[in-house]
Amino acid sequence: MPPAIEANKLTKEFRSGKVRALDELDLSIDKGEVFGIIGPNGAGKTTFMSCLLGLLYPTSGTISIDGMPPDAMEVHRKIGYLPERLDFIKWMTGKEQMNFHADLLGVPPKMAAVEIERLLKLVELDQGAWFRKIKSYSRGMLQRIGMAQALLGAPAFLFLDEPSSGLDPIGVRLFRNILRDLKESGVTIVINSHQLDQLEKVCDRVAFIKGGKVQTIENMNAITMREGTIVLRWMVDKESDVSKEVLGKVVAAVGAEVQNFEFPQALIKISGDEMSTKLIHELGLAGLPVAQASPSAGRLESFFDQEGVDPNE
């Protein structure tokens, strides 16, 4: 199956070549894939997104969406875009904004009315805000209306730039669920974000971009198998109920390592998911049943820690 999005030696220079935002970037994204892009500020993430939308013209190299150039009208009919900078037409109300974009997409008015109501409810934008001018919206409300307009016309490709920025935890979870549903319906999603924990929950693969180049592309399922640190917690009254000696022996027996023990929790270095499962099982058998076990950092964060890479610097 041909890739949904393909960039070949994509280069974008600014200021007559003094700044090279993208440097022969190669990337291939499959149909129906949720693809994350991370990297420090100035890495070229937004430049790449702008090239995808046909807003920036590559200096050299090619980029294609569904086999077509990004500025083809056929492509623009299939894409939804949530920008990082939510510069909407401020004098419009939320509903007017939605109608405007539905009109630009050529959605028939009757269908648009139903679709707009469904989407505004989907993103849980307060009904009172539907008829309020956008200039009075909070950042979270802007993010919700932004997501709603991006979903207009049932796009086959969704480009999201920092989608959960400014959202409250409920909104973050809501967006994540929306993305999961979209993935199930086969939408190809590209997410540009700094929030590693959010990316790892929805993405199939994540590319780390730095200096305009793809440094590494990680499959989220593969990252699960790598080493990391887990936090074990016991629900007991006295410190003496958790024997340090027994804990040390069991941990050593499964090949793990105690990094820190501060009652009632311990930080254990493990080499993979399999080891953590075995450790929890063995601790139970040894009379130290664990009440709670969780990774000390997100999978993606742990991965970058191991690689010695700070995705935000």
Partner: protein, 243 residues
């Protein structure tokens, strides 16, 4: 022509109160002069020609930042991510602003004639089809110039440039009148003819007269401005990132 962009452009005006006040001022001021003339016993009224010339002023007020303001407001990247060609956006903006300026100019002419003649047959006679066509010509011509300047300049700087050039023309005209520098007035008139392109429809009595310099200049200016704007906006790159 894109319906959504046209409607957006028209609604944009209603959401800019300063411009509405200015429009009201430019419609109301000549009427105020007429009222004062009447009070003082003069029978002269502001001429229809003067009212038509005001069309350019309406274009400047309505069309200020016709493209530059949208760029400065940051709304274009999202609009251009939709299935709309950039030339469609530009031509729609041109037609929408010219249409609005024409409507305001028609209303202005109508109010002016109503004040001068009351509800009489003279009022109907005063509205010449040529005047209406003249208004549309001037509105479309001036809007095309604004469009080109707005493609080059941010915000509403296009109006600033036009006013600056007008001021310069005024100065060079003074040079001829007071210091007898030859050719200055002609230069100023030519610059004005480019800034506010139009031609007198009353001068056309036969098909041959369509080949006049004025008509040629009008279409040349409008075409150059429109194609220049399309070229400039097509070349323009938009990004939310820091370039």
């Amino acid at each position: 022509m894109n319906k959504s962009i046209a409607l957006m452009t028209i609604k944009q005006l209603w959401n800019r109160p300063v411009r509405l006040v200015l429009l009201a001022g430019f419609v109301g001021f000549p009427l105020l002069i007429d009222v004062m003339n009447r009070q003082m016993g003069f029978k002269d009224h502001t001429s229809s020609a003067m009212v038509i010339i005001n069309t350019s002023m309406f274009v400047l007020i309505i069309g200020a930042g016709i493209i530059g303001q949208d760029i400065s407001d940051g709304i274009l990247p999202l609009i251009f991510s939709r299935p709309i060609k950039r030339w469609q956006y530009i031509l729609t903006k041109w037609l929408a602003v010219a249409f609005m300026a024409s409507i305001v100019a028609f209303l202005n002419l109508f109010i002016h004639l109503l004040f001068a003649h009351g509800f009489t047959f003279e009022l109907v006679k005063g509205i010449m089809p040529f005047d209406l066509a003249q208004i549309v010509l001037l509105a479309m011509g001036t809007t095309s110039v604004m469009l080109l300047l707005s493609s080059l300049l941010p915000g509403a700087a296009d109006v600033g440039v036009i006013l600056l050039v007008c001021a310069a023309c005024f100065v060079i005209t003074i040079l001829q009148h007071f210091f007898h520098v030859p050719g200055m007035e002609d230069t100023a008139m030519n610059v004005f003819a480019i800034l506010f392109p139009s031609f007198d429809l009353g001068d056309i009595h036969s098909l041959r007269q369509l080949l006049s310099i004025e008509i040629g200049r009008y279409f040349a200016v409008v075409l150059v401005c429109l194609s220049g704007s399309v070229l400039l906006v097509n070349e323009k790159e938009f990004s939310y990132g820091s370039n």
